[in-house]
């Protein structure tokens, strides 16, 4: 009787894929398959045929690429020919050099051009850096479950010479990096070079002190938060000044006297934002190429 009950129970369990009886030890039960994640079920239900999916993806990709290429070519065809409007371009250069300082408030006119007159191009460059490090993250990231041995990068936590030198050098490098970053509008420097020095300091920390120390300073979450926040701040700030400039309104951010540290409007915060993106990019590429994870 008991075996017949067990038999029925086991057959029912096999049919329902569910363990009916938990206190009685069943004689034979089929292994319980893991239920797939809910999002996977939705996707599986939506895309029944993989070939159709691939064909649709390919068609969409070709269409998007051709549309984008057509738009860009149309824009370029409207530009003047080579050598035309040369006198006009000379007046633009003269305007930058003669009136740049009183208009933007910077002493270093290169910073004034890249962050005030041509701020949109600099935003594009920051986006390029962000995309590069995102692609590297996508391609080289190593999950914990893959189980493969990471590439042979040795751990020099125990190297006393490098550790002792780095203990003195790293604060100095960081202070120097911040100095170069904050001096973008006064002397040659700015976001890109300051960010590169900060990234070099982070690389030295990671090489000299090992992963536990560098993991306390910058993790993947810190990296993502910092880059996204910096780029968003750049977008919002510069959109505000574009909007007020196009409509002839005053921005409310004074230019100050050239030569002061707090001058030149929004250039100092924008330099800081660009520097953060560059530092995170440099360090992120180093970690991704070396360890496969942050």
């Amino acid at each position: 009787m008991k075996t017949m009950k067990n038999d029925i129970k086991s057959k029912l369990s096999a049919w329902l894929n569910f363990d009916l009886d938990l206190d009685e030890v069943p004689e034979r039960t089929p292994p319980k398959p893991k239920a797939p994640h809910r999002s996977k079920l939705l996707i599986l239900r939506r895309i029944q045929n993989e070939r159709v999916h691939r064909a649709v993806y390919a068609l969409l990709a070709v269409f998007c690429s051709i549309t984008l290429a057509a738009c860009l070519l149309l824009t370029v065809s409207g530009m003047p020919r080579y050598g035309e409007d040369a006198e006009f371009m000379d007046t633009v250069t003269y305007e930058y050099l003669a009136h740049g300082m009183e208009y933007t408030g910077v002493v270093n006119i290169v910073s004034g051009i890249i962050l005030e007159y041509r701020a949109f191009d600099t935003l594009g460059e920051s986006f390029v850096l962000f995309c590069a490090v995102s692609c590297v993250l996508l391609l080289l990231r190593r999950d914990g479950a893959s189980g493969k041995e990471p590439p042979a990068m040795r751990d020099i936590t125990g190297d006393p010479i490098l550790s002792s030198s780095a203990r003195i050098l790293v604060p100095l490098i960081f202070v120097f990096g911040i100095y170069v970053l904050l001096n973008g509008h006064l002397s040659p420097g700015g976001g890109f070079s300051g960010g590169a020095v900060l990234g070099a300091g982070l690389i030295i920390i990671s090489s000299a002190f090992g992963e536990d120390v560098s993991g306390r300073i910058i993790t993947e979450r810190v990296f993502k938060t910092v880059t996204t926040a910096a780029l968003l701040f750049y977008c919002v700030g510069k959109s505000y000044t574009f909007f007020t400039g196009a409509n002839g309104l005053p921005t409310g951010i004074g230019n100050g006297t050239p030569g002061d540290i707090l001058s030149a409007g929004l250039i100092l915060p924008l330099n800081i934002a660009v520097g953060m993106v560059v530092a995170c990019t440099v360090y992120g590429m180093y970690r991704m190429f070396g360890k496969g994870r942050f």
């Binding site: 010479i161 490098l162 030198s165 003195i168 050098l169 100095l172």
Partner: protein, 112 residues
Amino acid sequence: MSGWIRFFISAAFAVCGMAAFVFAAVGSCRFRHVMYRMHSTAIADTVGILCLTLSAVVYLGVSFVSAKELAVAVMMLFTSPVSTHMLAEIEYHKGNYASGVGRGKGGGRDDG
């Protein structure tokens, strides 16, 4: 006259620095083992840079710029031995010892 004294002090430092660079260049060409060549360029990185920086500092006088130049020279004094140590460790782990004692490949490698 003080202009000329300053010039001769600066020139003396510059000649010392250039002599250090000459020794480093000759040493990096003539030694037969990579460890010796490595230690020879360290002369240029420390003494050479320090002497040439002092020559520029004597020209500039006491100012913020000369302090920054001295900071660069001191930083190279700090970091160049660490660089040499890192390079020597690469060669050590390849088994390329200078004396061939122990598990080396026997007396170091000649490159001819």
